[in-house]
């Protein structure tokens, strides 16, 4: 079963680029982050700032992230971005982001995030908790 994919288009701005005229690498991780929030909003129908309350969690913190830079993305480039959950596990999941320019894959990003809540015994402690089945179901598309 295919995973729900969120697509958006963005244009690279002056302030995102470095002296070589290409997107500075850290900016891509902001773009990945926004892509994940928007993917969740599109799949679950919950706005990013309401996600934690809606599901009784503390958040979906990043524990691992990787990016491959295949082609430079330049000032003014129009980027087609596709974001999807590539795997759900019990309390963690992977998000894959693919950024293309003119039909050519330019950057691949892979995030691993955890579905985190506060401990009932000790509210100072947070930890991974089971992702609800109905959350996962909403990311499955025919």
């Amino acid at each position: 079963m295919a995973s729900f994919t969120f697509r958006r288009q963005l244009t690279v701005g002056w302030g995102q680029c470095d002296p070589a005229g290409i997107v500075f690498n850290s900016r891509l991780f902001e773009i990945f982050d926004t892509g994940t929030w928007q993917l969740f909003e599109a799949a679950l129908g919950v706005k990013p700032h309401e996600l934690a309350n809606a599901f009784g969690i503390s958040g979906i913190p990043l524990v691992d992230v990787r990016a491959n830079f295949l082609r430079p993305i330049k000032f003014g480039d129009v980027v087609d971005m596709a974001s999807r959950v590539s795997e759900f596990r019990r309390s963690s999941f992977d998000v894959e982001h693919r950024l293309s320019v003119g039909g050519e894959l330019a950057v691949e990003g892979n995030e691993t995030r955890v579905w985190v809540s506060r401990s009932k015994d000790d509210p100072e402690k947070i930890g991974g908790t089971a992702i609800p089945d109905d959350v996962i179901a909403k990311f499955e598309s025919a």
Copy 2:
């Protein structure tokens, strides 16, 4: 005569906010910068990365910028932004950005930029040059 106003809507992302949950001030200057590029694209029909070549200039560098923070803008807020040139002078101009949330003005920004080209005598030197009349005319709207 009224000045052409570019309007866009943006939603505040997690990574733009500080530990108080509000947009970190430096992020607003990125938002102003993008607003100016988009205003020029909308008024002149020239993409940001083609602006310099299209008009034979080096760029439109910022020489002065000011922001007033009237109300905090928070994670998830939907911001209505209006950008317009408030004054054209011979070789410099002012851009005014107004950001509102729920109809209430939250942030005002004012940029002063210069229309800059390379000296014909010494290409190492750049300086302000006269803004073409037809550029200015395109920012005037009935």
Copy 3:
């Protein structure tokens, strides 16, 4: 009586610069912000993340900020920065930042911030409160 001045030196990094090879304007507001926190730490002997608790305040939010760009600051430039409170008022104050490269003033920044605490009657509300005299005294130097 002269105001206590905090001085630091910083070197401009690749990721702070735009395609023109100069510091992107929003980055300077981060540099001002850090300068203010470090000025307060140097004057008061309190670390930035302990400032709110140490003085029973919510923070020192920015309400107005302005920058003048006199000369471009480039990748690799060594910047001498001097930060000082230029004026204390009852519940607000101004911080002036001066950034020089090779002895030439390149950027001037001026922040206005408020000494803010929660209302005793309604902890949801925050507002300006009187800056303690002994705080102000620590910024005065012979």
Copy 4:
């Protein structure tokens, strides 16, 4: 033979942190980037903005980067960072960054970069070129 390790200490600023009060992930990639430039400066005695000219290259672009977040790094945390080249290959190399707080490893980063120059036949094309032996030798320490 051990690889030369560059160590620096940094304190996490307000503007680097997100609404959870911890360093926003993209900021760590800026910190890695600065760490690599400083490592090269320390090993080779060449300032970052002079590196390309000093070695007749276009730069050392990033092609792959990964980060593991083991513990959150918070506003005010004092971070000990150690950066070293973990492997040199013919025209590419890996840099490892380890960030610790209070002696506990908090973040690991791994960058892969390429030693890139312009083609002699077609200056529009750039590509990996052999890293000089004397560059590599300077990263080896007894």
